[in-house]
């Protein structure tokens, strides 16, 4: 490692390297310790269970490999999600870690992901008069269709590539937004 990084980050960076050749389940704390050049105990101190490691690794991958392009409008949101799905396709091993981490029982008090807040903010601007329940229904649907889980399900369960997954995503977004009365939308 050329740069000086703190131990938790060094562990995650090494785990990401190992992910290129094996699955997360096959990365033992022993192998990870050897890769970083520290003791297994140090890893346990940082990440007491594999669920902690998975959650931290997913966050780190998210920040370094899959940064979310900022969006304000619905069309920017679509473009940002397309870009992410294409990035997932280019690094599937990393994307599956994200999908898995978002499914496990939370290890800590976790904050909603940045994309969740961004979708809510987008709807506040795009549909300012929409009632609260419908707003949450829309936000939750958009969030779930833009997730790594959607990408993973369509890739594994339907054998689709990023272009087809983007198409399925766009159609799902269309059906959700079509439910809102026209008058809800802010003048564009």
């Amino acid at each position: 490692m050329e740069e000086q990084v703190d131990t938790p980050t060094a562990i995650l960076a090494s785990a990401a390297v190992l992910l290129r050749e094996r699955t997360f389940d096959d990365i033992s704390y022993r192998a990870l310790a050897d890769e970083v050049g520290i003791s297994e105990r140090t890893i346990y101190r940082q990440y007491p269970t594999r669920a902690h490691l998975l959650a931290a690794l997913s966050n780190w991958i998210e920040q370094t490999r899959f940064p979310l392009p900022p969006f304000v409008t619905v069309s920017d949101f679509r473009a940002a999600v397309h870009e992410r799905f294409r990035a997932f396709d280019a690094s599937p091993a990393y994307a599956y870690v994200g999908a898995r981490a978002s499914a496990i029982s939370p290890t800590l008090d976790i904050e909603p992901a940045y994309i969740t807040r961004a979708i809510e903010a987008m709807l506040d601007v795009a549909a300012p008069t929409l009632n609260r329940r419908d707003r949450r229904r829309v936000a939750a649907s958009l969030r779930y269709f833009s997730s790594a889980m959607f990408w993973a399900r369509l890739r594994t369960g339907f054998d689709l590539d990023a272009a087809d997954i983007c198409d399925a995503f766009d159609r799902a977004v269309d059906t959700v937004l079509a439910r809102l009365p026209e008058a809800t939308w802010a003048p564009r």
Binding site: S105, P112, R137, R155, A172
Partner: protein
């Protein structure tokens, strides 16, 4: 999936119980064997690795504890989704295990076990869809009719079981809007 044998069911049920008591990380084969009333080597013989055991357990949970009533129409799917969300909410630890094993890629569980049934219903009732539209409807409904919905809505929006069931069924109705008036007579 072939049905598990009697011994296997004892192992899977014991593991599922222990997951609810201790979490999936901290359960050794010895503890599972003791709970199931069998020898530890029997666990190994049936499930050589931890991942084998976990995948089999997730499949068993999905087929038994989270089993759903069969829908007879694609337009009944939102109702099935609503029921499923309530069931996941009653067994949160098991719900997380099933959700996670479906997100492991090729080495994991099939992420859309209900796909074939959805296709059957859709083809019988709305046979005129173009392939891309058909695929999008099936994909969206499979995604919504899964434990991932419960996990995401709870975690990202702090919804309780009523709100999750409502929002998930609402989204499924939205997907069905595009085919509601296209049923073959």
């Amino acid at each position: 999936m072939t049905s598990p044998t009697g011994t296997q069911v004892a192992i899977l049920a014991a593991y599922a119980e222990l997951i609810e008591e201790l979490g999936s990380d901290d359960v050794s084969n010895r503890v599972i064997a003791r709970r199931a009333g069998i020898a530890e080597r029997t666990v190994f013989r049936n499930y050589p690795t931890r991942v084998d055991l976990l995948l089999a357990t997730a499949a068993w949970i999905e087929a038994t504890i989270f089993a759903r009533e069969e829908s007879h129409s694609i337009f009944d799917i939102p109702l099935a989704i609503r029921d499923a969300m309530h069931r996941y909410d009653e067994r949160p630890e098991l719900a997380h295990v099933v959700a996670e094993t479906a997100m492991r890629g090729v080495s994991g569980a099939a992420p859309s076990p209900g796909r074939a049934q959805l296709e059957r219903l859709l083809d019988a009732e709305v046979p005129s869809l173009d392939p891309a539209h058909r695929r999008a409807v099936i994909a969206a409904l499979s995604h919504l009719d899964s434990v991932g919905t419960w996990v995401t809505y709870r975690r990202e929006f702090g919804m309780d079981r009523r709100d999750i069931a409502d929002a998930a069924a609402w989204a499924a109705e939205a997907v069905l809007d595009s085919i509601r008036d296209r049923v073959s007579p």
